[in-house]
């Protein structure tokens, strides 16, 4: 085997093992995030509520589920690692080998004076190639730091669940709104009722955040909620032509009517009562102030 092929094989193995380390770091980081989320949302409470009978103890389910999700996501993230073109990565990192390495590799079975000289040059240049140089150190370091931060965060949250966990009372309120729960009245309308319509008639306090309004008349609760499309509004269904015929009215009699205000309204004013006169006077004074 040519010297450069041996070196290439070693480099590839070293590079892939480093990529494996990266995938493990990703796995740990994802597990930390997912498990922390499970603690915050109090997954155990939900599991107890919805999965009262389980083959394994409930408290083991969140970490197992977190591991499963982490493995799945890290496999997805690193699914192309084994297909990475190490030759291209080496060529990008070492410009001296650009186009030479792949040519030498593609013609590894050829032998003539030019190919042999190329192989010699490539073998010489490959001596400085190291798998550790193929992955940016900053990438590895940042990944390690991020993973440590996530682990620390997860440990902190798991040790102080009371501070970060959603309280059980809140969760209990949430679960009550779930279909099929014990407080549910059971009537579910299929024609466009809002999601929280189950609460009608039970806890409706009339607030504006989704709870329906309930009117209580003589101890009897009446649901005032208007559902869209259910017994509300109207449909215009009558599309028949309406008659636009005009009906003649009797002609208004034309006559000359003398104005009552020809004397500046003075005679009219004099006819008013004293109270009216005072009121008009007061009005005129107030009006003048505007």
């Amino acid at each position: 085997m040519d010297e450069f092929l041996e070196k290439l094989k070693q480099t590839r193995t070293g590079f892939l093992s480093r990529m494996r380390i990266l995938s493990i770091l990703d796995l740990i980081a994802i597990f930390s995030i997912v498990y922390a989320i499970f603690i915050i949302i109090n997954l155990e409470y939900f599991l107890n509520k919805f999965l009262p009978v389980a083959s394994i103890p409930i408290k083991f389910i969140p970490p197992v589920l977190a591991i499963f999700i982490a493995v799945l996501l890290s496999i997805l993230l690193h699914r192309r690692d084994s297909k990475l073109n190490v030759i291209r990565i080496i060529e990008n990192k070492y410009p001296d080998l650009n186009e030479k390495l792949r040519t030498a590799y593609d013609n590894r079975n050829e032998s003539n004076v030019i190919v042999d000289s190329l192989k010699t040059i490539v073998s010489e240049s490959m001596k400085v190639v190291s798998p550790s140089n193929l992955l940016a150190k900053s990438r590895i370091i940042s990944k390690v730091i991020i993973t440590i931060i996530f682990i620390a965060g997860m440990i902190f949250i798991s040790n102080n669940p009371g501070e970060y966990q959603i309280p059980e009372s809140t969760l209990s309120n949430i679960t009550k709104t779930f279909p099929g729960q014990e407080n549910n009245t059971g009537l579910i309308d299929i024609i466009g009722r809002p999601e929280n319509s189950e609460a009608i008639g039970s806890n409706g306090s009339g607030d504006i955040f989704g709870k329906p309004k309930i009117a209580s008349i003589e101890g009897k609760n009446i649901d005032l909620t208007l559902y869209s499309g259910v017994d509300t509004g109207f449909d215009v269904r009558d599309t028949s032509q309406t008659s636009n015929q005009f009906i003649k009215s009797a002609a208004f009699p034309v006559d000359i009517v003398g104005s009552n205000v020809s004397d500046g309204g003075y005679s009219m004013l004099m006819k008013k009562t004293e109270t009216e006169k005072m009121l008009i006077n007061k009005y005129a004074v107030e009006r003048s102030k505007i």
Binding site: E99, R102, T103, Y105, D106, N112, V113, I121
Partner: protein, 315 residues
Amino acid sequence: MSNETYTSSTRIFKELLDEIGKVVVGQHEAVEHMMIAILCNSHALVESNPGLAKTLTISTISKALDLKFNRIQCTPDLMPSDITGTYIIEDIGGKKQYRFEPGPVFANIVLADEINRASPKTQSALLEAMQEKQVTVGNKTYMLDKPFFILATQNPIEMEGTYPLPEAQLDRFLLKILMDYPTFEDENEIVNRYTKNIVPSVKSVVSKTEVLELQKLTRDVPIAEDIKVRAIKIVGATRGKSEHIEYGASPRASIGIILAAKARALMKGRNYVSKEDIDVMAYPVLRHRIILTFESERKGMTTDQVISDLIKNVK
């Protein structure tokens, strides 16, 4: 021998180009492409206006390569036998015998000047020699000497009374080389050199054997798979649904690009073909192998512009 030639190839090409440069001012690309055509054991078509040193360039190359050079001035009345040679009756000892008199095609480097002025019959005789590297006269076949290189020229401005080469025959030329007018500095140098009593001359720097060795070495230059694929994709793109191309290039173009790229790499002193070699050689290889649509020609597009677009689009 091959090893020695390869080791000294960089020196050979440098000396060769320096020697040619003593006579031919500028036209570096044209000279390089002519050399590439010779290294590929193929032929080239040169298109340029008159007076741009086509004949001088090729005759200088033949002198520098120590090869036999002949020139054929193509005219409408040129007969195939004027190129290939003919039998003449000779009196030997009172007995009349036919003797074959080789034509100008029996040389290492042949300049077929204004090939499009020759009749199709004569053109095809020349093109047969190009393809088969042999000449058949009567019922006898004569092998042409190696290396054999034809440089045909065309004048792009005088089309009257010409017989344009059919596409199938154009395809047999590896490269179509365009020679442009020299720059001001080059023209100044040309005037300085050729208005004195001492006319520059060249000496032979490469032997015929070395040329044949270099031809062999050209084919040995390795090429990476992805670079090879790139060349094929470029040629394939000419056959695609390009709005500018009426007819695309044949697989001979793919062979041509890769071979020319190998020769270029060798000339540049590289022991591998680079992407750049493919891109540079795509122009002279494809130039005469694609036919533009009427609409593109009407817009004044050139084949080089279309090839440039193809190269940009190939990943």
